[in-house]
Structures are given as structure tokens and as C-alpha cells.
Amino acid sequence: MAVHDDVNGSTEKSNSGMDELLTFNAENMQNNMKVIYYSRTFLSIISGAIAGILGFTGLMGFIFYFLVMAITSVALAAKASFSIHSYFNSWNCIIFDGFLGGLMSFVLFWTFAYDIVHIF
């Protein structure tokens, strides 16, 4: 998770938490979303390679992916010190954003690593 935290380190302390009145800086919000996207993509590629090298097949690999993504969500939430609403719109963006986009990369790198290590 260290690398991931590095990626996330660029999150700006942006949206001071004003509860009643919605005040936010759109650019900072976008930056936060971008950070989530990057960390997810990065992790999906890395986890794909790991799954392939370890030789996961079938459901095992997908469970691994879900596990990694769940850990990512928790780590992102921890990075935002669990006050999601001062950084993001809702919980949804932390949990689901970039999930399916990462899946494609995951499958590709999983297949690639698996083939190179185990098939031939």
C-alpha cells in the first residue's frame, strides 16, 4: 500500500468541511477524483501482474481483484481520515469509481503474466 499512499499524497486538503452549506472547489474535487482514478488503475495493473505470477485461475483471480479494490477503498478512506464528505461528493466515488475501468486492465495483465509464467 506504500506506493498507493504516495500516489494519494497529492490529494489536496481542499474542501473545508462545511456541513450545511455546500461549499466546494470544483477543481480540487476533480483533482481528488483523478487521484482515485490513478490509484485504482495503478493497483489494477499491479494486482493483475501479481495474480498472474501467482497463478490464480478462474474465480480466484476475480476474488483477488475485488479484495484489492476493497483494500484500496479502505485505504483511500483512511487517507481522507474517514471524513469523506470534506473531500468527495459521496461514498460512491470512493468505492465504485474506476472499478470497471480497472477490471479491463486487470484482466489484460493477469492474462499476460499468467501466460508468460505458467502456460508456456
Binding site: 462545511m18 450545511e20 452549506l21 470544483a26 483523478k34 482514478y37 490513478y38 488503475t41 495503478f42 489494477s44 495493473i45 495474480a51 498472474g52 497463478g55 490464480f56 485461475t57 478462474g58 474465480l59 483471480g61 476475480f62 475501468g101 480497472g102 479491463m104 486492465s105 484482466v107 489484460l108 495483465f109 493477469w110 492474462t111 499476460f112 499468467y114 501466460d115 508468460i116 505458467h118 502456460i119 508456456f120
Partner: protein
């Protein structure tokens, strides 16, 4: 049956790895070529820039409406959406036909074509290359089982119905790469590339769009803003925060 298939290591060394590397490199090359092409002098029409700026200003007003007193907000709103000479008000009949506008500016069409070509040409070439050299054999195996429906997708170019579906032909490996590498590109080339395609689409439709329509939409948006000055409440907020601090 499926497990019996033995793939030559030469396939890995000469097909699987080179194909993936080439796909990555071509993606990088495409990025720089399209950047080069975009860099060529492009002087935007001052009128369009002006309209865009007006829209941005109106949007800012809408976003920050609650931070100014009602009177100031009303004055600014009148400045933008007044029926006679408001900035967002477009007199009828003056709106340009977007199609005509596009034809009057050959640069725009040229630009669009360049952008399109920089996407299509490399893809076609790579596909032809893969087709020519690597067609007709199994190149990879995906590590999870799939149903028969995926056969057409994954074994493109192999006409054997007895091979297990999880084996992938080289042509389909190319397609897998095409979709799966998008994430990698966004990491190594920055976010510009990730949003590139969609952004292009937006730009394309944006060029063809009637600027008076966006102005009108912004005007409507401004008209329906419910103004509620936030600052009176802020004093109470500040009081609460300070009290908490003092405690």
C-alpha cells in the same frame, strides 16, 4: 482436452511479448504525433473566445451566487440576462448556422480530419500487421473459463470448435490489448491521453454546436437560481466554532 494443448515457447517470445510491446509503443507514438499535429498554429476566432469567456463568467456567478448580497446578485444577473443588451441575450435570427460556419472555415474540417486520421491509421496498420504475421494460431490462454458465446470474440481467426474457449488467438489478443492498455496509457502519458478520445468527441460536437444555444442555456440557468445570501448564517457559524475553541 483443453489442458492437453501445449504452446510453443517461441509463440511467447515472438508473438505474445512483441505484440504487447508494440501496442504500447504505438500508443505512445500516437500520443506524441497527435500532440505534434495539435501544436500547429490555430488561431481561435475572437468571437467564439469572447462567448466562451462570457459563459464562464456567468457560470461563476451562478456558483458563487450565495456569497454576494441579493442586490449585487440582481445587478449582475441583469447585466447578463437582460432582455435588451444582456451579455447572454442573443437576438433572434442572428444565430449562425453551425453547418455553414463549418464550411466557411476549412481549417476546422481539416483539423478534425487530422485528429481522426491519427486515431484510425495506426489502428488499421497494427491490425493489418497482426493479421498478416500472426493469424491462425493460439497465442495465449486467459486464466478463467468462459462460455461458448465468447468464442467469436476470443478466437477470432481460428475456426476450430473443439478448442477450449479460454484459448485466445493472436488477433483477439490484439483486441484485448487495445482495450486493456487504456489504463496503462493514462498512467504513463498523463491524464491528457485518458480523456483524449472522449474530449475529441466533445470538441467535435462543440464546434458544430450553436454558440447561441449555450448562451441561452446559461441564461436560463441564471434565471432560475434561487438566491439566498449565505453570509448572515456564517456569523452564527463562526460563533459556534469560536465557542467550541474557547471551551
Amino acid at each position: 482436452m483443453a489442458e492437453d494443448l501445449v504452446l510453443d515457447t517461441a509463440i511467447r517470445d515472438w508473438v505474445l511479448i512483441p505484440l504487447s510491446v508494440v501496442m504500447v509503443l504505438i500508443g505512445v507514438l500516437r500520443y506524441f504525433v497527435s500532440k505534434l499535429m495539435k501544436g500547429s498554429s490555430q488561431v481561435p476566432d475572437p468571437k467564439i473566445v469572447k462567448e466562451g469567456q462570457v459563459i464562464i463568467r456567468a457560470r461563476n456567478l451562478r456558483a458563487g451566487a450565495n456569497y454576494i448580497p441579493a442586490k449585487s446578485f440582481r445587478a449582475r444577473k441583469a447585466y447578463y440576462s437582460n432582455e435588451e443588451n444582456g451579455l447572454l441575450h442573443v437576438p433572434k435570427g442572428q444565430a449562425q448556422n453551425p453547418q455553414a460556419q463549418m464550411f466557411s472555415d476549412p481549417n476546422m474540417a481539416m483539423d478534425m480530419m487530422k485528429k481522426n486520421l491519427s486515431m484510425i491509421i495506426p489502428q488499421t496498420l497494427t491490425f493489418a500487421w497482426v493479421n498478416f504475421f500472426f493469424s491462425g494460431f493460439v497465442a495465449a490462454k486467459i486464466p478463467f473459463p468462459l462460455t461458448q458465446r465468447f468464442r467469436a470474440m476470443l478466437q477470432n481467426g481460428i475456426d476450430l470448435s473443439t478448442v477450449d474457449v479460454s484459448y485466445v488467438s493472436s488477433r483477439s489478443w490484439y483486441f484485448l490489448n487495445l482495450f486493456g492498455l487504456r489504463g496503462l496509457f493514462s498512467l504513463i502519458l498523463g491524464e491528457e491521453n485518458a480523456t483524449d478520445d472522449t474530449q475529441r468527441m466533445m470538441q467535435m460536437s462543440g464546434f458544430g454546436m450553436d454558440p447561441s444555444k449555450t448562451l441561452g442555456a446559461e441564461k436560463d440557468g441564471l434565471d432560475i437560481v434561487q438566491h439566498e445570501w449565505a453570509l448572515p448564517k456564517f456569523e452564527q457559524r463562526a460563533e459556534a466554532v469560536l465557542r467550541k475553541l474557547v471551551k
